[in-house]
Every structure is written in C-alpha cells, then in structure tokens.
Amino acid sequence: MTGRHPPFPPVNAHRRFESLVMPHLGAGYNLARWLARDAHDAEDVVQEACMRALRYIGSLEGADARPWFLTIVRRTFYDWLQRNRPAEALDGARLDALVDPGDDPERLLLRQETAVALADAVGTLPLPYREVLVLRELEELSYKEIARVAAIPIGTVMSRLARARALLQRSPLLQAVREPSAGMHG
C-alpha cells in the first residue's frame, strides 16, 4: 500500500529534500521551462514535481540527486501536459511510437519564420527531441543519465539527439542567422 504511492513524506523527508533536491531546483526549472515553453507553467510543474520528490525521497541515493530529480520533473511535466494541453501530449506520443519519425518535424521547422534566434528553433523541436537536446547541452547529462531520465534506451538517446541536431542544422533559422541580411527586417 505504501510501496508505489507513499501517502506521506517519510521521516526526515524535508531535511533530506532541502539538502539533496533544493540544490537542483534550478536544473528542474530549466528543464520544465524548456519543455513547457512558459515560465508560469514551468513553475507549476516544478512545484508539483517537488511534492512528488518529497514523497519518494526515500528512494533517492545521494549521488544521483540531479538526474533523479530531473526524472521526476520530466514525468510530472508529461502528466501536466496530459491534463492541460492534451493535443500536444498526443503529438509527442504519436512521434514516440514512430519507428522513423519521417519529415514531419522538419516541415514543422520550415513553417517557422526565418531569422528567429536559435533558442526559438530549439523551442519548436518536437518534445522527444527537445528534451534530449536540453538534457545533453544544457544539463550536460551523459547518454546513460539521459536514458534514465527520459526512460528510453541509450540507442534511442543517440538517435534522437542526432535527429534534434540534424533538424537544427537543416533548419532555415540557422541559415537566416548566418546570413543576417536575408531575412531581417531591421
């Protein structure tokens, strides 16, 4: 009964939380912010994730606090997405199920206006690609850690990371930044 869903935080939970999880609140927020693409939503996700982290704090080994917490933040985000933006959640799931993602994401990028910042290009990446890229480049997690956080095999981490980078490289946004005169309006 208390196995999967402990109803209450365990003994000393808040102390452990403050010493083990609080140092990684910034990482959790950064991930949530990149996934949700909205500051307010990211705060909601992080706060909910923290409550979950508190309940499950007993399962945390000290050294793994950051990937552990990021795993919870990511999971919380997808649950939140399901509740608040079901259409977007569905897109992510469909993409997840595809063996070959096809050209859809590229078309998604092509539809964007040129001459936006790289950050915006990353923001338009489909979630499964965006999350591995953010975990790798901003959180600097290893393939193994990303695999754990995103609950996918390492091979999938590598292919999604490659896909994310290919999408960015081929995106017209990058071309536009390289040749500023082409698409800028001043």
């Binding site: 109803p7 209450f8 935080p9 365990p10 003994v11 000393n12 939970a13 808040h14 102390r15 939380f17 403050e18 609080m22 609140l25 910034g26 959790g28 927020y29 950064n30 912010r33 990149w34 500051a39 990211a42 705060e43 992080v46 706060q47 923290c50 409550m51 508190l54 910042a117 790289l118 950050a119 990353v122 890229l133 953010v134 790798r136 480049e137 901003l138 290893s142 393939y143 590598m158 990371l161 490659a162 980078r165 960015l168 490289q169 990058l174």
Partner: protein
Amino acid sequence: MNCHEATTIIAAVADGEADRRMRQALADHVRDCPDCASAQQALADLRARVRAELPYHAAPPALRARVLDAVRQQAPAAAPRGWRWFGAGGLAGAVAAALAFVVVNAVLTARARDDVIAAAVTAHVHATTANQLIAVASSDQHTVKPWLSARLDYSPPVPRAEGSGFTLVGGRLDQLDGHPVATLVYRYRDHVVDAFVQPAGTHPQPAGVRTIRGFHVVPASDGAMDWLVVSDVSADVLQAFARTLAAPEPAR
C-alpha cells in the same frame, strides 16, 4: 570504419562518450574523408552555438521560497515520530503547525481514553511541531527552576539527570487537563523528551507505560511530585530515566 559508422561516432566523440580507441578510429577516418570531416566540423559549430545561445532559465527566487514553504508544510504533519526536533531548520508558519496539531490531536483524542495521558502527548507533539519547545532555554537547573517557580503555585524539582545520557535543555509551561504544569525539556541523542511535573495527586497517574502514536508516556512519583515523561525514546530507556527523575536529588 565506413561513413555510416562515422556519423554515429562523430556525435559520441563530441559528447565525450567515446573511448580512446573510438576517437582514434574516427580521427583516422576523417583524415581521408572530407565529407565526414566537414560533418564533424558542422556538429562542433552547432554545439558551440547551442551552448552560447541557448538560455539556461534560472528559477525565480519566489519559486524557491514557495517550494520550501510547501515542503515544510508537508513533512512535519506526516512524520512526527523520529523527527529531528532540534536544528531541523524550524517549521514554516503557524498555519502549518496548527494544521499538524489539529491532525495529530484529532487522532490522539480519538484513540486515547485517558485524558491526562492524551493531553501530555498532545502537549509534547504540539510543542515540537509548533517549534515552541522551550520557553526558557538553559542547561542550568538554577535558571530553569526559578523561571518555572515564578509562574506556578508550586516549585518543581529540576534534576539535571547527569550521567543518564539525557541533557536538560530548558523548560516551558503547559496545561494538563486544566492544570498548569511545569514541563522540563531534555534531549536524548536526537530525541526530545518532555517531563511534566506536578504536585502528587493532581491527576490520577497511569499504572505503567502507555504508548500513543509511537510516543511513550511513563509515570513516576516520589510521593511529593508526580511525573509524566513523554518521548519517542524506547520505553525501557525512558522508564529508567523517569526513575532517575523521581529519585531524590543527591545531596550536594
């Protein structure tokens, strides 16, 4: 190594995931393969830009504060037993404490038939969760005793209980079933021990150790004073301590 293999390894090398043998094999390959060499360069360029241009979103300070508040509200109510009372960083807000008190109190009163015992445990839990453990903080009995005596119509003994492993840390006033009572606060390892002391006969004393929600209540008496000792310290240790308290003070 062919170009197909190289594509995967270029990324692994860039991400620091390749061993020395792989790095060497890739270096050998790109020396003779302009396509793969340019792919490697393109990835390096992209990564440099990503790292330079992607903002790392910092958590707002208000979020930090909100999370801490919420966490402190959650934790104490759920786990009064074994809580590290001292140095726990305090509890956030009277609301959280009052809530914890109401919850614990409701459970206690439902289960406890003996009003005084329930009141003693409730007072103990309330004081610890509300962070109002000690009104006069001192390990000196000559500070604690006058403070208590000035506020009561009796003068409670304040044993230091030296050598017992228990340390006097202070005192406060409580009410037990309508009677003001002196509460001596001791510390045993990480546990807090409340010793309620009243003139003998103020309340009917329980016959032996009672346990409510993990807190032991141990009675003791020296004929003049009745003691109720409350803590989550193990019952036998607490009983020995209660006997020490009720024993006449050694002459000085």
